[in-house]
């Protein structure tokens, strides 16, 4: 069975335009025998179209024997995405006597329909049905794989509606483990979120969406847990990932215990996700650590954050194989400058033992040219801290001292 969706007012306007065409064709005179064939062509074309007037009238007439019979379609059915027009209260659906045509829908138009569908979707009606979730994933994958379709999808969705959809999915993901059903929903929601995030990241890298508006949405308005889930899958460039992760980290710290992830296990909350994303991208880790202020660093070395994740980010940011010492300077000076005034936090958080390995490769930059090299290393700007004060306390623990030496 095929279906037709339509807007009553617009369909009536189309019928009026066809009436105008009929009038126009009736008024046209042949000014010259040389024009006869051309006028016949025009009249044939006009007649072919005005011949649709009866059919268009039948669509909205609800006639007893009409092939266009009103039908209620499920707005959550992904198979109907190209027939529905969520948000249009005047949209009606009828049966369509024509079979699905061979007309191939423009991928960008289809992607716009997918965006309208996703924005209006009652998620529980898709996540509760494995088949529908799979259909929607297939639609999103197709729409985000093609650059033109991806752009059309994201432009139609817009950053605000993207944020709402992400938060809606994030709520389901955060509920993982609450029950078998909640975990199944969470898995499906995670798959959909990853597709949307990867599409957004690809469009962001290609420059086909307005980076400023999308970054503002993720950094300032979307729940930090939702932003963290997006950043984990978006594949953003290091500078963008670092800046957005730092913004999400700050907002999470300001509203800790009051976000979408408040009921999730610690290792599944926004900080753990952000730390994992940063640990996988040393350059982004540096950008985030250098953007952190004392409050952010206080959260980082606070008791609620898993020290393993913190150490992974610190060590990734200090990886000497990636970038030069100059690229590490600001992040490390910021971290060590904070810790020298909060030694107890480093001890309590359990990261102290790893700080030797973190700072060790850069001792000559931290302490000055003391290795006898003929080309002494430039001492970093430590923002007024005494070099020995900055590093000396780390050496007081056996493990950290050993890793400093090595």
């Amino acid at each position: 069975m095929s279906y037709l969706g339509y807007d009553r007012g617009r369909l009536l306007a189309l019928r009026r335009r066809l009436g105008d065409l009929a009038d126009e064709a009736a008024r046209l005179r042949v000014p010259d025998p040389l024009a006869a064939e051309a006028v016949r062509q025009y009249r044939d074309a006009a007649a072919a179209l005005t011949g649709w007037l009866g059919e268009l009238a039948a669509i909205d007439a609800c006639g007893f024997s009409s092939p266009f019979q009103p039908v209620a379609l499920d707005p959550a059915d992904p198979a109907l995405v190209d027939l529905l027009h969520p948000g249009d209260a005047a949209w009606a659906t009828v049966t369509d006597p024509r079979a699905v045509t061979a007309v191939t829908l423009d991928p960008a138009v289809h992607a716009r329909h997918v965006a309208e569908y996703v924005a209006a979707l009652d998620l529980s009606r898709v996540l509760g049905d494995a088949g529908r979730a799979s259909d929607l994933a297939r639609l999103l994958r197709a729409a985000t794989d093609d650059p033109a379709a991806r752009s059309a999808l994201l432009v139609a969705l817009g950053p605000d509606r993207f944020g709402v959809v992400i938060e809606d999915l994030a709520v389901r993901i955060a509920a993982r483990g609450a029950s078998g059903e909640a975990t199944a929903h969470a898995d499906r929601a995670a798959g959909l979120l990853q597709l949307l995030a990867a599409g957004m990241g690809a469009a962001r890298r290609a420059g086909t969406i307005d980076a400023t508006a999308w970054d503002a949405q993720l950094a300032e308005r979307t729940d930090p847990y939702g932003t963290a889930l997006v950043l984990q899958a978006a594949g953003l460039a290091a500078a963008d990932l670092g800046a957005l992760a730092a913004a999400a980290w700050r907002r999470w710290g300001q509203r800790a215990g009051d976000g979408l992830d408040e009921r999730a296990a610690t290792d599944q909350q926004a900080p753990a996700i952000l730390l994992a994303a940063l640990a996988a991208n040393p350059l982004a880790a540096r950008r985030a650590l250098e953007a952190f202020d004392d409050e952010d660093l206080g959260v980082l070395f606070g008791g609620s954050i898993d020290p393993t994740g913190v150490l992974a980010v610190l060590l990734a940011s200090a990886d000497p194989r990636i970038g030069g010492a100059d690229d590490i300077e600001r992040s490390m000076a910021n971290v060590l400058g904070f810790l020298v005034g909060h030694e107890e936090q480093a001890g309590a958080s359990g990261v102290l033992d790893g700080l030797g390995a973190y700072a060790g490769p850069y001792l000559e930059h931290l302490l000055g040219a003391c290795d006898g090299a003929s080309y002494p290393a430039r001492r970093w700007n430590l923002h007024g801290h005494e070099p020995t004060e900055l590093v000396g306390w780390i050496a007081r623990t056996e493990v950290a001292a050993a890793s400093l030496e090595s």
Partner: protein, 85 residues
Amino acid sequence: MTTTPDPDALERARALRSLAARIDASVLHDLVAAAGDDTWRGPTADAFVAEVRWAERRCDDASAALRAAARGLERAAAAHPIAAR
């Protein structure tokens, strides 16, 4: 004796060009926009839009033929001038 292109032929050419312009400005060319996917979606909508596109091509052919005929008249008028009155 001065000659001038045949004014009757030029007038016919002008009329043909005017007709071509009217066909170009036909309501028919507004229909694709009016029948877009904000108006309706489905096989019948697709079939209608396909027919509108066919009709647009017919109209484009018609106006191109009218302009070609007008050019023919203008060339003939220039090639066979008449005595100026």
